[in-house]
């Protein structure tokens, strides 16, 4: 190793340079590792299988983009219906989860009662809980009540796994909102309800956007709950419906990657436009 100080140590400059190289090399390796699978998905989705597999090898330099895979999805699968099911339960559980979380977060922060730390532990315990371990009991109850294969049941199940973190997030968030704002509204004669509507909710906006994003991501990503609660094809969400595509003879990798690309659009938009709310969520723990 180069020594310029003459004392048998690596010189400061050389050390700095080596460190710099190591830093960039790590960044490069992880970027490549992250990008390759995404790139492969996109390329296979946007060219016809004939082009992808021409010559018996996989061609990953797109030369002839085509909508063929998407047209097959539209024409000969129930992709559209699966997407509609996903949207219904995702939006439903996002609204439900966020509403419960905002109310609970505000109440837990602003009202004093004994057993607060027990409540915190209950929320954290459900936050760490395993979706599949909850899915079995939910299946049993929904089955007894005849609620299997309904949007309502799946919405509840999805809310069950997203609400604990959303509550935790809002609880932490409201603690950073000084009560002085509300007090000055009360002093000026506003009722508690008006204060909540005109002071608390606007201030809490970044918090509940963040909670909504996590609730949305959990529901959109979900496979476990939908697999357990929905057994009829017409009720499948997109993740369950598409997971069965590869078992069909008529569907190949082109269509599979095309549907993957479509499923990835909402997460892609969140990453691009709502990143800071997501990072805010990670500062209090993130979700499964």
């Amino acid at each position: 190793m180069a020594t310029s100080s003459g004392r048998g140590l690596v010189s400061h400059d050389t050390q700095k340079r080596l460190q710099r190289i190591a830093v960039y090399l790590t960044a490069l390796l992880i970027s490549v590792f992250t990008i390759i699978p995404v790139y492969v998905m996109v390329v296979i989705a946007i060219q016809s299988p004939a082009t992808t597999f021409a010559g018996g090898r996989v061609n990953l330099l797109p030369t002839e983009p085509s909508l063929r895979n998407f047209l097959v999805l539209l024409g000969s699968t129930d992709t559209v219906r699966y997407f509609v099911n996903s949207l219904v339960v995702t939006l439903g559980s996002t609204v439900l989860s966020t509403t419960i979380a905002v109310a609970a977060g505000y109440g837990l922060t602003r009202f004093d009662f004994t057993g607060k730390s027990l409540a915190a532990r209950a929320v954290l315990f459900s936050y760490m809980f395993s979706p599949i371990v909850l899915a079995i009991p939910l299946y049993v109850v929904f089955s007894t009540l005849g609620l299997l294969n309904s949007h309502f049941a799946l919405t509840l199940a999805l809310t069950a796994i997203s609400a604990p973190f959303c509550i935790w997030l809002m609880w932490q968030y409201f603690q950073t909102v000084p009560i002085a704002l509300e007090e000055s509204a009360w002093v000026r004669g506003a009722s508690r309800w008006r204060t909540v509507r005109d002071v608390v909710l606007p201030v809490a906006r970044p918090g509940y956007i963040s909670a909504a994003i996590f609730a949305f991501a959990v529901a959109w990503n979900d496979f476990t709950m939908a697999r357990v609660v929905m057994s009829r094809d017409e009720m499948y969400t997109i993740t369950v419906g598409a997971s069965l595509f590869l078992d069909r003879v008529s569907i190949g990798w082109g269509e599979t990657m095309a549907v993957s690309l479509l499923i990835s659009i909402p997460p892609f938009l969140i990453a691009l436009f709502l990143q800071r709310y997501l990072l805010q969520g990670f500062s209090v723990g993130g979700l499964e």
Partner: protein
């Protein structure tokens, strides 16, 4: 609402009702009733119901009370311990690797390198992409017939013939682990990056002035600030990976020959392939108590509730 609950809530709100602002009781109810109702409906009732069910043989068709019989049968079967071992291997491998990669990248991006912001945005994708999509990507890459990894390895002369990674005894678990790490390394990364960015830069400046090496600065400043977050990641991520169902189910269904069957996969098999709800709920019960045990340790060691209460 029961009168007992009502009086509890009213008592709880007394502190703020002293201000004598109208509508407080109603607000109190609006805050807590949705959460309590929700917890009772989707958590308490199902879990109690399922725990009850776990005490019966064939609880759905013709229930016969067997007490802890299902649990005895479950724990007495050697296969259970194999599945438990698979869960532990999977959880330790994925959590450990995710932590190492996440930490490395967080340290790198914290250096404010060129392109750091773009790299940070890039890392959001694996975390947000639905598990199914991640599985499709890796199934394609690792496919024995058309997969690009096999193509590359054969071309490079490293292997003679393609490997069916997800369905070969010795490669199935590593393949599932790599797929999982690809998705979950970002989790550790984002949490650690948030902690790193909260460290006062003056500390490093002072260390530099005093002639500390990079390693010393890491050991004495960076690491102590990260220790808490690292322990939390090991614990919480570890629990989640131990309980992970979708990524394993979608990639191998627990095969080949139950090689990647973890407890969550086994619960699903018992309930929906073997339609044995007595055993399925008993196994879910075992997993519930395992989790409760870990939670007790977590609450004792970290007192996380102090962040809010």
């Amino acid at each position: 609402m029961s009168t007992a609950l009502k009086s509890r809530l009213a008592a709880a709100g007394s502190a703020l009702r002293e201000r004598d602002v109208d509508g407080t009781t109603l607000l109190l109810a609006a805050c807590f009733v949705p959460m309590l109702a929700f917890f009772v409906v989707v958590w308490v009732i199902p879990i109690v119901y399922a725990l009850g069910m776990s005490l019966f043989a064939s609880p759905v068709r013709n229930p016969e009370f067997v007490g802890l019989g299902n649990y005895a049968e479950l724990l007495g079967n050697g296969a259970f311990w194999g599945f438990l071992w698979n869960s532990v291997v999977y959880a330790v491998a994925t959590t450990g690797l995710s932590l190492v990669i996440g930490l490395g990248l967080a340290l790198v991006i914290n250096q404010r390198i060129r392109g750091g912001d773009a790299l940070r945005t890039l890392m959001i994708f694996p975390y947000l992409l639905p598990t199914l999509v991640v599985i499709f990507m890796w199934k394609f890459i690792l496919d024995p017939n058309i997969g690009i990894l096999n193509q590359f390895l054969v071309d490079a002369g490293l292997i003679d013939k393609p490997i069916a990674f997800f369905s070969t005894l010795e490669f199935a678990m590593p393949a599932v682990v790599v797929t999982s790490v690809w998705k979950f390394a970002s989790f550790a990364f984002f949490i650690l990056l948030a902690r790193l960015q909260a460290i006062d830069p003056d500390l490093y400046e002072r260390a530099r002035v005093e002639g500390a090496t990079t390693w010393q600065a890491f050991r004495d400043i960076t690491f102590p600030h990260l220790r808490g977050a690292i322990l939390i990641i090991l614990l919480v991520r570890g629990i989640w990976m131990f309980n992970k169902f979708d990524i394993i189910y979608l990639s191998t269904r627990g095969g080949p020959l139950q090689q990647t069957t973890t407890l969550p996969i086994r619960v699903y098999q018992l309930a929906f392939s073997e339609v044995n709800f007595g055993m399925a709920t008993a196994l879910a019960g075992v997993m519930f108590f395992l989790l409760a045990g870990v939670a007790v340790v977590y609450f004792r060691a970290f007192a996380p509730e102090q962040e809010v209460a």
